[in-house]
Amino acid sequence: MSERSEYYKKMVTLAHEQRALFDISGARITRTEFRKIYKHYGISIDQWPIAGLDRKAFKKLRGVYFPDLHGAPSVLVARLPDEPYIFTLAHELKHHLMDRDSVGAFCLTQVQDEMKEIGAEVFAAEFIYPTIEFHDDLSKMDITKGSCTARDIVVLKHQTATSLSYAALAKRAEFTGFAPEGSLPKSGWKKLEENIYGEPDYKRIQRLRSLRKNLS
């Protein structure tokens, strides 16, 4: 086994240990749970732009881990929707657990330390939704290796309410051989979800509000 493979395997184990430590089960993790986890490790979370201050949002950054910002570890995270926000916090948690003794801040460049960054991605995906549970859930849906379709991914996400994004689920389905490589779309997941489950409540409410506004 190569050094990289061993490292990523270690990240998977670490993710499982952390889930057990915080008594996390299932495929969904909330912002509240993450606040508790970060509190346990004494990591402060700041969102950018800071509330009340007029600042431009990040262009490309999602999160940065500072091992020692004014005497304490800190994570700066972009104001994001739930799924990327949760994934970013999981990613930065790995840096706290594994990379805090290295000098400087993390996630600033993608190539800066590829193995550490990919390791953080592996940890984050596994921490949110372990691959073994993913396999079990697909098996319960009678999905076998090579037969997983985009529709199956949408159903899986709907049934498990996982915090992992469609893109991450699709990547995992292909990586684990449940879907043939390159068979799953890169985008259009929300549209497909709507085709299967209908218009989501928030969207219907938005549409009705806009309609009411136009009528008055």
Binding site: F58, L61, G104, A105, F106, L108, Q112
Partner: protein, 113 residues
């Protein structure tokens, strides 16, 4: 000198040297910032400690970085390391990180008594 006194003196210094040395009265500054007239006086005398939002507004008004309101020895230490690591990052994000480090430093100093 404590941080509040230092901040107060800096506000006074920026106010009196504003507009090429012509200066600005406390009332005029208060009007520009949309705050009560006596607040500026209380900041300058370190009776009130300005909030982060106030420092931010003052920094924007005077065209100064937030860090210029605080003692130099307490300017953000992680910034140097951060900038070393930030090669290849989008310029806007580097600016955002610089601003964050300054704001975080200001927050920490404002919390001090």
């Amino acid at each position: 000198m404590d941080v509040s006194t230092y901040v107060g003196e800096r506000i006074k210094e920026f106010r009196t040297s504003y507009n090429g040395g012509k200066g600005l009265s406390q009332e005029e500054l208060a009007t520009k910032l949309g705050i009560a007239t006596n607040t500026v006086s209380r900041w300058e005398k370190a009776v009130y400690k300005p909030k982060l939002k106030d420092i931010d507004d003052l920094a924007k008004f005077f065209g100064k970085p937030i860090s210029s309101f605080f003692p130099e020895e307490n300017t953000p230490a992680p910034l140097a390391g951060l900038m070393r690591a930030a090669q290849g990052l989008h310029q806007d994000d580097i600016e955002a990180l610089t601003q964050f480090a300054q704001i975080k430093s200001a927050q920490n100093q404002l919390r001090k008594k």
